[in-house]
């Protein structure tokens, strides 16, 4: 395989960017969560890539940690989505403003 690390960075960057756009632009909670998933994947890609670049196992380990934490997050987040949907009957994130100052 003959891929410069910079290319990998660019790919991860583009993924991250699209995830970010999804978060900022979408109002549906599910879509926001999907954006988060994409961003996390971009991060994982860089981690694994750097692990390969420097020939160290740590990057991969962190990618796994990332995955585990992310799984936990999704579990909780989706449970919350159900809960919120039940409460407000909508998934529009702007409907949830109980924390208004």
């Amino acid at each position: 395989m003959n891929v410069p690390f910079s290319h990998l960075l660019i790919i991860a960057f583009l993924l991250f960017l699209m995830g970010l756009a999804s978060i900022l632009v979408r109002r549906n909670v599910i879509r926001v969560l999907i954006g988060v998933e994409i961003m996390l994947n971009a991060a994982g890609l860089v981690l694994v890539g750097s692990s390969a670049l420097w020939n160290k196992v740590d990057g991969q380990l962190f990618a796994v940690f990332l995955m585990a934490i992310e799984a936990a997050e999704v579990a909780l987040a989706l449970a919350l989505v159900i809960y919120l949907r039940r409460r407000k009957g909508t998934l529009n994130i702007n409907a949830f403003n109980e924390m208004r100052g």
Partner: protein, 174 residues
């Protein structure tokens, strides 16, 4: 050969992500995302991380995405058409951020010779991976497992309707 496959996968991933973000139907979006995840998993494999790749497929594509689909189906989400009404305040940072990040990236790539180094073929055997995981980061493993445990309890509590009891009480108060 591997290089070509890698680039194809990269393009697939980017394309899939773009479609995932832009499609208005959430089910479609999820399906595109599954594609992306597969592509990324293969990229992991090519980068010498077979174990991570396997888990990517199992955990992400297998578990998380199924969960998403399940939720979307359960809540009967309809396609949303709110993309057009998005103001600059929300697009603005995205675009600007993209530009700044891009500049940073370019600068980084230009300045640091390390980035232009080619990724050589590496391979981390599952055994070595496991040794490293449990010998070097035992505390992190502990913490993360605890984290998962608590998340499970939380999800159980919320899913069982712990919140709804509270809600009914609040309504009763009103």
């Amino acid at each position: 050969m591997a290089t070509v496959v890698f680039y194809i996968l990269a393009i697939l991933a980017l394309l899939g992500t773009y479609l995932c973000v832009t499609r208005s139907n959430p089910v479609h979006a999820i399906l595109y995302l599954v594609n992306v995840l597969f592509a990324v998993a293969l990229m992991y494999y090519l980068l010498g991380a077979p174990l991570v790749a396997a888990w990517e497929v199992i955990v992400y594509a297998g578990a998380v995405m199924v969960l998403f689909v399940f939720i979307i189906m359960m809540l009967e989400l309809t396609p949303d058409q709110e993309m057009s009404r998005v103001g600059w305040l929300r697009w603005g940072p995205t675009v600007l951020l993209a530009m700044v990040l891009f500049c940073t990236l370019v600068l980084f790539v230009a300045v640091d010779p390390e980035t232009s180094r080619v990724i050589v073929d590496t391979y981390v055997a599952p055994k070595a991976f496991g040794y490293a995981l449990f010998a070097k980061y035992p505390l992190a493993v502990q913490v993360i497992s605890f984290h998962l445990f608590i998340a499970a309890i939380g999800a159980y509590y919320l899913g069982r309707g712990g919140g709804s009891r509270k809600r009914s009480r609040e309504e009763g108060d009103e």
